[in-house]
């Protein structure tokens, strides 16, 4: 027991001091850390590699694993992507998705900023219950809402229109953004607002000129996250939109590119890849904000 502990200790002490590397434990560290970690990364990223390599394969290579190595492409082609861009409504779908996601994000962010400000800063009787209600709203999943929502959308005459999406996406965006922003507002010292109030600023001036600039990282987090969630949304579009040209990318790729029994895997993969690129780009620029909003939403 004591021997074991003694043998364990030096290694661990080395690990705690970040600067020092214990070379003697190299092979062991390789087996326990680097090897499983690389397997994780490979498994998690392989589907995207596979998507990309399939998208640029000519059909001859796509369906012949005997003569060509399936993991590589010997004569890459852009035919699949060209077909997607010039022979289908793909650019239109991208535009629709972009418009819907942007408008829904702006609408939700606007509503959430005001709501979070009211709940966190203009404390009133029952504000904590309003906060709780918004948290509970986040726990209501779209899968139990889409059927009654479809009848509501139909009654409002919004069926098959982009407004159906713009007005329903906030149901999952507002709870998330409000919750995130409440956390950010909480971290801004209230004294700053009190100073401004003494100087005679109105509450709206305080929100616009003091609180919002300070909460900018939170706004960016909430904004890009809401945009990503809108871009990924599937079930509402599937249920509320009928015309092919009004669909968003995730729905259109699945319902318009798959017709009949013959799947054009090349174009399908190209469609999936191109549809992922906008969020992937946004993500690559704002990784830290994503991580902040992901962990912030869980921690609050």
């Amino acid at each position: 027991m004591t021997d074991h502990a003694a043998a364990e200790r030096p290694h661990l002490v080395e690990k705690e001091n970040s600067g020092v590397i214990d070379w003697s434990s190299g092979p062991r560290r390789f087996i326990t850390v680097y090897l499983p970690l690389s397997i994780f990364v490979i498994v998690l990223l392989f589907p995207f590699y596979w998507m990309a390599i399939t998208a640029i394969k000519p059909n001859a290579e796509l369906y012949d694993y005997k003569t060509y190595n399936p993991f590589w492409v010997s004569s890459p082609t852009l035919d699949n992507i060209k077909r997607l861009l010039f022979q289908t409504d793909y650019p239109q779908w991208l535009l629709t998705t972009m418009t819907v996601a942007t408008v829904a994000t702006v609408l939700s962010l606007f509503s959430s900023v005001l709501a979070a400000y009211a709940i966190q800063r203009l404390k009133f009787k029952g504000s904590q219950y309003v906060g709780l209600a918004i948290y509970l709203a986040y726990l209501v999943p779209p899968s139990i809402l889409f059927i009654p929502m479809a009848t509501l959308i139909f009654q409002l005459g919004l069926f098959d229109s982009q407004w159906a999406l713009i007005l329903t996406y906030p149901t999952f965006l507002i709870p998330f953004c409000t919750w995130l922003l409440i956390g950010y507002f909480k971290s801004i010292p209230y004294e700053l607002e009190e100073c401004a109030m003494i100087d005679g600023a109105t509450r709206l001036q305080i929100l616009w000129q003091i609180t919002l600039p300070l909460a900018l990282p939170g706004l960016i987090s909430a904004g890009i996250f809401a945009f990503t969630l809108s871009w990924n949304e599937f079930i509402y579009t599937l249920a509320f939109i009928q015309s092919a040209e009004k669909k968003t990318v995730p729905v259109a790729v699945l319902t318009q590119l798959v017709e009949g029994d013959v799947y054009h895997w090349g174009s399908l993969m190209a469609g999936a890849l191109l549809g992922s690129i906008p969020v992937a780009l946004l993500y690559s620029f704002f990784v830290d904000y994503y991580v902040a909003s992901l962990t912030g939403a869980v921690k609050e």
Partner: protein, 317 residues
Amino acid sequence: MTIAAEARTTHHLPQNWLVRLLDNKSFLIFLCLLPAAALLLIFLTYPLGLGIWLAFTDTKIGRSGHFIGFENFTSLMQDRVFITSVWNTLLYTGVATVGKFALGLWLALLLNNHLPFKSLLRALILVPWIVPTVLSAIAFWWIYDPQFSIISYVLVDVLGWRTTYIDFLGEPWAARWSLIAANTWRGIPFVAISLLAGLQTISPALYEAAMLDGANAWQRFRHVTFPMLMPILAVVLTFSVLFTFTDFQLVYAITRGGPINSTHLMATLAFQRGIPGGQLGEGAAIAVAMIPFLVLATLFSYYALARRKWQQGEDND
């Protein structure tokens, strides 16, 4: 001093009724909550109530229904497809959640080491979670292709472990496991990154104290890491269970409930009956049948949160 006085007088001049109204606290609270409350009440609360009402009617698309009591539910109880979908949902949620948490926790512990390119690694690991589910589901659909599956190719032609290609999506059980694998794949990043955030808040002093007391690696995990991680684990678990239980996209994209309705989850069955099938009342009843499970998960989350605040010595604000 003079500047302040000047500012106050210029501020007083345009103070008409509108400005005064906007500075009235109760009015301002009302105004601030209005957009969010209106959107949520019209498009969330009202549909939620409407859905529960629809579940007790025989509404079809284009025809408003009549109240029929529990008829939808009693007929569903005799519906083999519905019973299968309930079992599938429970299996899917149970196995995928265990898989996600076991692998996600392991990945979080690995990432908590001192590593080169740590932020790059973290960024790469989150990618499956950022990309639209349906689009990665399409990649899985192709990976699970009966003739050109890359997994079968590796098992048969590279490793020689099998002689035939696997029919991933053609057999009910193979299809269920394939869907569970895809869901686990997509859930690992969220669990790992959230738990990593939790791990980073644990003070190194606790580990030092445990090591001075002679605790080995497993004991330190069991008695320091795990209890400290418990609160965040409970919250992540709730979200994960909630979203896995009501999952729709993966199953709809990969199998659409097939082969022969054997992989339907409650959400996909509700969609199939309600929207293309036109049986809005029956679809709503299937969706409403999910609510008891969701309420249980939510209560669990609420008590976990309350316990967490108590642990941190915060008051309930």
